[in-house]
Amino acid sequence: MDESFIEAAGLTKTFGPITAISDVSFHVGKGELFGFIGPDGTGKTTLFRILTTLLLPDKGSARIGSHDVVKNFREIRKNIGYMAGRFSLYKDLTVEENLKFYATIFDTTIEENYHLIRNIYSHIEPFKKRLAGNLSGGMKQKLALSCALIHKPDTLVLDEPTTGVDAVSRREFWEMLKELKKEGITILVSTPYMDEASLCDRVALMQSGRIMEIDTPAAITSQYPYALFAVRAGNINLLLNDLEVYENRRSVQPFGQTVHFAPANAANEPEGLRKYLESRGHSGIRIEPIHAGIEDCFMMLMTNSEQPKTE
């Protein structure tokens, strides 16, 4: 990152008694693909709405390029492409009419910037006469991205674009974002899916309106300080129950059909664990040492940040 194109400092926003985001600061380089990762309700949407000039921050400031999100909101609105969290295109307009409408209100035409959306729009172009309301989730998302891109914005703000979209479309979508990066477009994207974090250049892990950590995905995972094992057994529920009460445990997190287990003291593991599980009557026990993923790091950061609060 040779320059900081987007910069936020101490952004805070409350809605009545609820603090949506608190003291959020970060900077994003030009042409960077920057991800905000966190579960629902962590303030990602509020943060994006402040950046897209839809909300005013209570405290703090932010700018995109040289434009302040509060003072120069008109300039920003001309230069960003925004994809809102829920599908917000006109369902009673066809695919083509939606795209044309967004092109027109930004004073451009589909033809003028077709090169930008070709890769994305070509997937849905065969259905351009279809009403947007009748598209599948993946196609809606491609249309929304096309509409957000049609005016050649220098920044894209995508609020949970892959939520509610099938796995194949999600992968395709991230491929498209990588292509867009080549055009020099700065992309901010939020997602609750931890596995998508590794597809970003850098990520901010968010929890309860705060940013816990900002770094490249590789740097975040390499900082995981503990030994970690993926544990499998015949009955996953019983396995979880038994792990929860195992003495030498630091953290126990279910991941689909496996459980990620970090011991408090790695010296005796995983042999101690295997013996314990055998003594509890588990069959088909498999314990493998693994590298921590983003989700493991997230869980660790989350428990660490929660502990001081409960005191």
Binding site: F73, R77, A84, G85
Partner: protein, 367 residues
């Protein structure tokens, strides 16, 4: 400008593709005109009346048989004294009492003139008016026919409206209905259309675009101006051909005034929508803020002059009041702009006021 027209085209798509919107836009006015129209023009049939005839001579019998054989009226009872009139009405069965003066025929022969009192139950004002005028017509018809064969005579018909002495002209209904339909459709439609963008989340994306509030507002209004003008034309054609409302004044002036009123209604709709968050609230406010006052406080049904001062002031801020005055003047009296410029000016200033308020209220952000 290109942005603006892009927006207008989009609005047209929304309207033309929604069958419910189209139904409200074009089905409702026709339906309402018929409902209100037939409240005016329903033919009387077998209306129950009572007769008080102390004279009971050949002329009163002849008049009675005329009335009763007309097909409009049916004899419910004969009364014997004036004191029976009020109780007869109280039973609710009869709508009119025909009262002949004592010694009717002899008086007619001696003085050449006699009097019939028609007392009608005006708690249903429209019907009472109709009943009285039908009865009067029958009596007059009898008189003119009788005068041709024998000596000239004159029967004075005096009608009295019980319970609601202030009857307004039936022609009131068409202008009133027009005022109501237009304000309802325009205000309702536009208030829904902006609020719908908020509900669907598309407003969020619209806001993050270079569109200015005024472009969004005017863009929302424009298609409805066109469609409401078509509505107005339908109403005027219907009132002329179906309900025989006279068209004395300039059609051009009428359409121009209607256009002004339509724009005002639309702007009011926009004003509502900039202050509400969901469609239900918008519909409710449109109904309560426009439909009821149009019916109650515009002079549509209840004469403003009879209201308490406070209500009269309230009437003064009701746009339909001025519009009804304008169309009545143009359609019924054939007045030109010289007679309605004041009302026109009031409507125009209301437009300006509410456009300013709406733009100031229009949220350029989400909160």
């Amino acid at each position: 400008m290109k942005r603006f027209w892009g927006f207008v085209i989009k609005e047209f798509y929304h309207i033309l593709r929604d069958s419910k919107t189209m139904l409200v836009l074009f089905g409702m006015p026709v339906m309402q005109m018929f409902i209100f129209g037939f409240a005016i023009s329903t033919d009387l049939k077998d209306v129950k009346i009572a007769i008080l005839d102390p004279s009971s001579d050949e002329i009163t019998r002849a008049v009675e048989s005329r009335i009763l054989s007309s097909g409009y009226f049916m004899l419910e009872s004969r009364l014997n004294a004036e004191s029976e009139i009020e109780p007869a009405f109280r039973t609710g069965k009869i709508k009119e009492v025909v009262v002949f003066e004592p010694g009717f025929a002899s008086r007619l022969q001696r003085e050449g003139t006699a009097t019939v009192h028609l007392i009608a139950d005006a708690s249903d004002a429209n019907q009472a008016n109709l009943i009285a005028s039908y009865t009067t017509a029958i009596i007059n018809d009898y008189v003119s026919k009788a005068s041709q064969t024998s000596v000239p005579m004159r029967i004075n018909v005096e009608s009295r409206m019980l319970y609601n002495p202030e009857l307004k002209s039936v022609f009131m209904f068409v202008p009133g209905t027009m005022a109501m339909i237009l304000i309802l459709i325009c205000a309702l439609m536009t208030s829904i259309s902006i609020v719908r963008e908020k509900e669907l989340g598309t407003m969020e994306v619209l806001l993050v675009s270079p569109l200015k509030p005024i472009q969004i507002i005017i863009g929302k209004v424009t298609p409805y101006v066109v469609l409401a003008l078509i509505d107005a034309a339908i109403i005027i054609v219907m009132s002329y051909y179906v309900f025989r409302l006279p068209m004395q004044g300039s059609l051009f002036l009428l359409m121009l005034e209607t256009g002004i009123y339509i724009i005002l209604s639309l702007v009011l709709g926009i004003f509502i929508s900039t202050n509400t968050e969901n469609q239900q609230t918008a519909i409710f406010i449109s109904m309560f803020a426009f439909m009821l006052p149009t019916i109650l406080l515009s002079g549509f049904i209840f004469p403003i002059a009879n209201m308490p001062k406070i209500l009269q002031w309230l009437c003064a801020i009701m746009p339909p009041k001025y519009f009804i005055i304008i169309i009545k003047n143009i359609m019924l009296k054939g007045s030109g702009i010289m007679y309605v410029w004041k009302e026109t000016l009031i409507l125009i200033s209301m437009i300006v006021l509410f456009i300013i308020l709406s733009i100031r209220k229009f949220k350029i952000r989400l909160e």
